[in-house]
């Protein structure tokens, strides 16, 4: 496929926004159980929710650039019964609304306990956050399934797609949370940092596994099944267009194999390898700038990762578009 920058930014930005929200909610739950220091509502949660919303909004904005008719985007909620894309279009604003409510409740300090003082996790913010987490998971599933449900794009048609979208989103959110807490909640830096490193390494395992899987794919379709001629030597001589077509522009990345390989190694290094020592160094030295650097490096890596995710996918329609003449 030819990676569309709009979708690359959509998926990476909302992933980080979702991850940041999960990180905040985990910290809050830890606070309620007494395992973590309790944080200030405005300085940490409200600000953090705003940051998360900024990322989600950025992703939403990017997605509009993918559409030919953005002014009709509202129509995309219609087919939620059958289309994962439609489900995502519903889940994203719903999740954003939940994050907004969560942040607003913290900002206003409305955290009356719904179940009486005896249950520490009963406040309004917990409930709103819990709903938010459910919507967050829904959103991860929707985003992943958009790609995973197309069975003939075999690089995508695997549980790894879902797992990787989720793990990479959560990991990048935790890395961001580490940097954010260095400013807003220094007591949580160690907690977030440790999880950021752990999640990044776990994500590496699954991403590497998916790379190995995709390397071994033997594609079901070939030129023989595409045109229905049983012969091992078939060559396309003309594709019915002399200057290319939508089919040659949308489904080919147009880069060399070497370029693709380089992007693979670049994203492996930037997303998984580089952030770990950076975080480590930041944790031990306490230099806030290093946290920000770790997040930026990883985010650039994630953009490369998503680019590669699209570029690596081989669409069977390409069988019909091999030779221009």
């Amino acid at each position: 496929m030819n990676p569309a920058l709009s979708v690359v930014f959509l998926t990476t930005l909302i992933g980080a926004g979702q991850g940041l929200f999960v990180a905040m909610y985990v910290a809050q739950a830890g606070g309620a159980m007494g395992a973590l220091p309790v944080q200030d509502g405005v300085r940490f949660y409200a600000l953090g929710s705003a940051l998360s919303l900024l990322l989600l909004g950025g992703g939403l904005l990017a997605s509009f650039f993918h559409l030919g008719h953005p002014e009709r985007a509202w129509r995309a909620v219609a087919m939620w019964r059958t289309s994962w894309l439609s489900r995502e279009v519903i889940a994203l604003p719903a999740f954003m609304a939940a994050v907004f409510v969560y942040g607003a409740l913290h900002y206003l300090g409305w955290n009356d306990n719904l179940f009486g003082a005896a249950s520490p996790g009963g406040g309004w913010t917990y409930v709103a956050g819990g709903v938010g987490v459910l919507l967050c998971i829904t959103l991860f599933v929707c985003t992943g399934m958009i790609y995973a449900c197309i069975k003939f794009i075999e690089e995508w048609h695997t549980p790894f797609t879902l797992i990787n979208f989720t793990l990479l989103g959560v990991a990048s959110g935790f890395v961001l949370a580490t940097g954010f807490s260095a400013f807003a909640a220094p007591a949580l830096v160690k907690f977030f940092g440790a999880w950021a490193i752990t999640l990044t390494l776990v994500a590496l395992i699954f991403r590497a596994a998916s790379l190995l899987r995709n390397k071994r794919i033997r594609h079901m379709s070939n030129l023989q099944t595409a045109i229905g001629v049983k012969h091992t030597k078939i060559q396309q001589k003309a594709q019915g267009a002399m200057g290319g077509s939508f089919n040659t522009r949308e489904f080919f990345h147009g880069k060399s194999a070497l370029f693709l390989r380089s992007v693979k190694w670049i994203f492996l290094v930037l997303t998984f390898v580089a952030p770990v020592p950076l975080l480590w160094l930041a944790l031990s030295s306490g230099a806030a700038a290093l946290f920000v650097l770790a997040h930026l490096v990883q985010f650039i890596g994630l953009i490369a990762e998503r680019w590669f995710f699209f570029a690596q996918a081989k669409h069977p329609q390409n069988l019909y578009y091999q030779t221009i003449s």
Binding site: M1, H66, M79, A226, A241
Partner: protein, 240 residues
């Protein structure tokens, strides 16, 4: 149930592109607006087509065969492109099985084109909506056209009659008989899309000459039990 479809005979298609041009002519002049054409006479012509004819060479020189392969939306009976459409702009008609795009609803997200394994959908770069073969839905029922012309423009244009049009759910229709009796097959059957359009295979006409058709076994000049004729001896024809 009705499922309209094309059956394309690869054995007689000569790759003249008459179907391509007549398709474009009809569909660019319709109520849905023109189909993009950029640089039509420039070095990099590109545009939207519902139908393209591709050419493949099968085999290795000198034993090659050229196959001209017209390709358009196959109006799959189980179209993967339809359920993925978030707006419902892509739909399959119950009454005749034609897969259509409602250009007024389409948001141009291109997701349906990703979900078609055949590359049958093309976005119109100017109208920014997804386009594909409509099986000339605006011809085949049109009371404005004479009865004989109520067929897709490509079918009408084909000079070799390589394109048949009809209902593949009617077992006695021309298309069903052709599929049944002449080895009609579906493209990429591995994905379970059940394309309605079928292709009739290319087959070379060969003469099969058997040895005993060259040498007459019942040569009257030979009698049973006689030793076979020695070619060094003069035959009856040689003796005048």
């Amino acid at each position: 149930m009705t499922q309209l479809a094309l059956v394309i005979d690869l054995n007689v298609c000569v790759g003249c592109h008459a179907c391509v041009t007549s398709c474009k002519q009809w569909n660019t002049s319709g109520a849905a607006g023109p189909m993009s054409d950029d640089n039509p006479y420039g070095p990099e012509p590109t545009g939207t087509f519902f139908n393209r004819v591709q050419t493949f060479e099968v085999g290795e020189f000198p034993n090659t065969d050229t196959i001209h392969f017209p390709k358009s939306c196959l109006h799959c009976e189980d179209p993967p492109c339809v359920p993925v459409c978030p707006t419902g702009a892509s739909y399959k008609r119950k009454e005749d099985g034609i897969v259509l795009v409602d250009y007024d609803k389409c948001i141009g997200c291109k997701y349906c084109s990703w979900a078609c394994p055949y590359g049958a959908r093309e976005i119109d770069e100017h109208q920014k909506v997804m386009k594909k073969c409509t099986l000339c839905v605006d011809r085949i029922y049109s009371p404005a056209l004479p009865e004989a012309e109520r067929i897709p423009a490509c079918v009408m244009a084909c000079p070799t009659n390589a394109r048949l049009f009809g209902d593949i759910h009617d077992s006695e229709s021309e298309v069903s008989v052709a599929i049944r009796e002449r080895g009609g097959y579906a493209l990429q059957p591995e994905w379970g899309t059940h394309p309605a359009n079928h292709y009739l295979p290319r087959h070379k006409t060969k003469m099969h000459i058997h040895e005993d058709e060259l040498v007459r076994v019942d040569n009257p000049l030979k009698k049973e039990g006689f030793p076979p004729h020695d070619p060094r001896e003069p035959a009856l024809d040689d003796i005048n």
